[in-house]
Amino acid sequence: MATQIIGSTVKRREDPRLITGNGTYTDNMTLPRMAYLTILRSPHAHARIKKIDASKARAMPGVLAVYTGNDLKNGGVNPIPVGWVLPDIKIGPHYPLALDTARYTGDGIAAVVAIDRFTAQDALDLIDVDYEPLPVVVNAEKATQPGAPQLHPEAANNIAFYWKIGGGDVERALAEADGVIKQRLINQRLIPNAIEPRAALADYQPATGQLTLYNTNQNPHIIRLLLALVLGQPEHKLRIASPDVGGGFGSKIYLYADEVIACFASKQLGRPVKWTEERTENYKATIHGRDHVSDVQIAYKKDGTITGLKVKTYANQGAYLSVFAPLVPTFLYGPMLQGPYTIPNVFVEVYGTNTNTTPVDAYRGAGRPEATYLLERMVDLVALELKMDPADVRRKNIIPPFLNGVYQTCMAYAYDSGDYAGNLERALTNAGYVELRKQQAEARKQGKVVGIGISTYTEITGAAPAQVAASLGAAAALVESALVRVFPLGKVQVMTGSHAHGQGHETTFAQIVADQLGLEVEDVEVVHGDTDRIPYGAGTYGSRSQAVGGAAIYVATQRVIEKGKKLAAHMLEAAEADLVFEDGKYSVKGVPSKAVKFTDVALEAYWPRKVPADVELGLEATAVFNPSNFTFPDGTHVAMVEVDPDTGKVTITKYVCVDDVGKVINPMIVEGQIHGGIVQGVGQALWEGAVYDDNGQLLSGSMMDYALPIASYFPKFETSRNETPSPVNPLGAKGAGEAGTVASTAAVANAVMDALKPFGVKHIDMPLTSEKVWRAMNGKL
């Protein structure tokens, strides 16, 4: 192939089915005799369940069954396990339906299975539950205080885990600093809002004992593993298929109670059972993200050098520990607090606490947006204190280029490659930073309230090097597998354990294979999301698919080429060592005319004519890729905002960014990921926030009250890339899925704070709603 397929824009192969309405989302599927499941959720955030009277619901025509927590427990259903077990972690058991206590307003109390959706919904109204309300706590810090309501007897003071990490000597740094700034920062709770609500369709075949679960999920093999443990269903008789999935953003990683109940019901009733989440239900029963309260101290020298950072964080875990929840505010957060800077002394301690709220787990960025926001706000506060330009404070502290090496932070991680300083300068140049500052000065003279914000970041992606992950507490291996299977006529199927739900893997993974084998992208079919078709997998989250999943495909493809070479040697009657593979042909070095096409080798592999009997036939290879390190994308985002001085309303007027996500397979797709990431991050800065009242009622319970970003809230983004290949995988890829989100929140928050500088405002917590900004401007905080 003359043109490189890797690195070029190829239109997505997913799109024809999706633009014509032919996607197969879980709720689109219908099976014969399918019944419908609905779940009654507690209207109380904390209550003792005194009595459940389901007799009227059971008597309703069309109702097949009503289950309670004890029905499931007596039926052998185990609590949902936690997949990231930290030392000394305290786990309050999470039964799919509450046994005697409801601990948040999404907690399932009873489940109805009926012959149609209407009946299943109507029957919920007929279940009479006698609750005794208990005191409620929703705040992560308050939950740890004496006298706070207790959620689980296992976790004293509601502390599910305490975790700390540090490097250098932060106390000494604080003591010896020219200045120390203390600030409390709140990273508010977010609701992921994949536009497709979750759904599950369980199909148990009593005759064979086979259970299939179709569901909205990012990692079917993890679900199979967990579901096998929860249900006692043997893995080899359990198939998880996640067809088209309408967005995940982390919220579809976990095993949820609802799909366990659907499986249990299908086994009990011997017929398919479907559950489809409603949006109001999604807001309560699907995980939330972020929700940190942090007390921060930053130590600096007069010249702007940052010498130390000390952080204490209360990370709200919600009512139960979700599958990966303990990972997020620890390893994905704490060690990333050094960020892209040379800060030599960092210490962080984290209290993961249970509260009467929806469980919190990984949501786009997971830990890194929290770390980046915290650090970038503090850097700006240093600039404010020293009356320095925020860009100059960043220049002073940013890690110098380490293009071919590694940079060891003062904590656990060694960054893989990068030109952080170069990307900062590129972004400032692209934004016309000097000119923007002049415009700002001019605008201020005219009474306008204008701000410029910078966010410089590095984040951690590509989970995970298995040994590192295990040492950090992973209960599930996060390596990735691939099977590349060549058919006799030269077409190829790739089975990957990664799962795409918008990321375009069916295109980019095909590009990797086509590029190497000298085929057209159309000749390669990517199969994902089905445990019966794919050898194994760990799924898609944490921007890992290209760096781990893509790398596995790359290695498997190389193995196919090597295997083919043995066959080609016989076909060409040449020594294997003399053969080269280029442009889809094996040829003898220096004798290009003596060649055999890859497709001919494929045919020979299955229908041998020249190959001796002792050579292994077939042409497929499996690889499991276990990277040597994580990957660390980085970049700088610059935002400009204008604030309406009368109302406090913030408008983004300019947005410029430079991101280094390593080697790019498909620039169009990477750019799309960055766009989406930016909008999601800005959503947190300006509008989004889950609001609970003191009773644990979620007041922002629908899209009417939870403000999601819409098109008219944004200008056109000016994005660009800088590619520093990662040395930890053969593709040189890092991760692109979360970078935009990691960076944009702080860029916009800093811009708003910069706009408010003339009003003497140093910090306000997100979301920076019109009212909050107006209050800040008018001294009414």
Partner: protein
């Protein structure tokens, strides 16, 4: 997502609709459905009967004559926003319609449905109050006309009786040398009005304010006039300082709503800001 059960009647005439309405306890009118269906899907509203008036053609019309404009209850927001007659004669109403929800909601939601529901954050009530609209309601025994100032009674409560059907809205033509404008500060999620203000001013030939009416929505349990501001404008040349001073009184005496999007204090402040902007825009429109 699944509403509770109800009886459904598709009325083909106004008289049929009010007949059904009068006969059934707990019957509600179904116009575009964009207020009642979401409430029913959440099972917060459970009417026993819905009377669908969507098939009554004469309820979906805009008639402009020399004295005013009549808008049928089933006229959609999109029809109002797209009407040249309304844009030219009643730009405030045109703008209010254009700012409701989104295109799909405007294509389906109706003026009658919106005002009969009387959501405290709905846009139209501010405009109808400021423009002195009249609502025409029919029941089986006759019909009556209700002035906007009498129509919006309280939170989601209008002067309509349970057996009455709102059939149209009549808005008198603006006097010569009048201007009207609607300005809205939307709630970022639902884009309902946190505060919406409609100002209508008439200037005499010396440029002095001869008449001013200001309707405010979103701020309180139901839309209302800003009478103190109106008085402060009368007899004055409406320069920026006068407008500012008058608008500063717009929230006086108001018991403003408070929710997770805006405190009562902030709403009251927005009332003054949006009122000033609405008056300015209305003055700018005076021919």
């Amino acid at each position: 997502m699944i509403p509770p059960r109800f009886e459904y009647h598709a009325a083909t005439s106004v008289m049929e609709a009010v007949g059904v309405l009068g006969q059934h306890k707990d019957a509600k009118i179904l116009a575009g459905g964009h207020s009642i269906l979401p409430a029913m899907k959440l099972r917060l509203a459970q009417p026993a009967t819905l009377v669908d008036i969507g098939r009554i053609k004469e309820l979906s019309r805009i008639i402009a004559d020399a004295n005013g404009t009549t808008i049928g209850a089933m006229t959609t927001h999109a029809m109002i926003a797209a009407s040249n007659d309304i844009r030219q004669r009643l730009p405030a109403l045109s703008k209010a319609a254009e700012l409701i929800g989104d295109q799909q909601v405007r294509n389906r939601g109706t003026i009658g449905g919106s005002i009969a529901h009387a959501d405290p954050a709905a846009d139209y009530p501010a405009v109808l109050l400021a423009l002195g609209a009249e609502m025409h309601a029919i029941q089986i025994t006759g019909s009556r006309t209700i002035r906007a100032s009498d129509f919006f009674v309280d939170l989601m409560t209008t002067a309509l009786k349970s057996n009455e059907l709102l059939v149209d809205v009549r808005i008198p033509a603006l006097a010569p040398r009048s201007g009207s404008a609607y300005v809205k500060f939307p709630q970022p999620a639902s884009r309902f009005a946190l505060v919406g203000v409609c100002a209508c001013v008439t200037l005499d030939d010396k440029g002095v304010c001869a008449k001013a009416s200001i309707g405010i929505t979103g701020a309180c349990a139901s839309a209302r006039r800003a009478t103190a501001t109106e008085s402060a404008l009368l007899g004055k040349k409406l320069d920026a300082a006068i407008i500012q001073a008058a608008a500063a009184q717009a929230a006086s005496g108001m018991d403003c709503l408070s929710d997770i999007h805006a405190s009562a204090e902030y709403r009251a402040h927005l009332v003054t800001v949006m009122t000033a902007r609405a008056i300015q825009a209305a003055v700018a429109r005076v021919m």
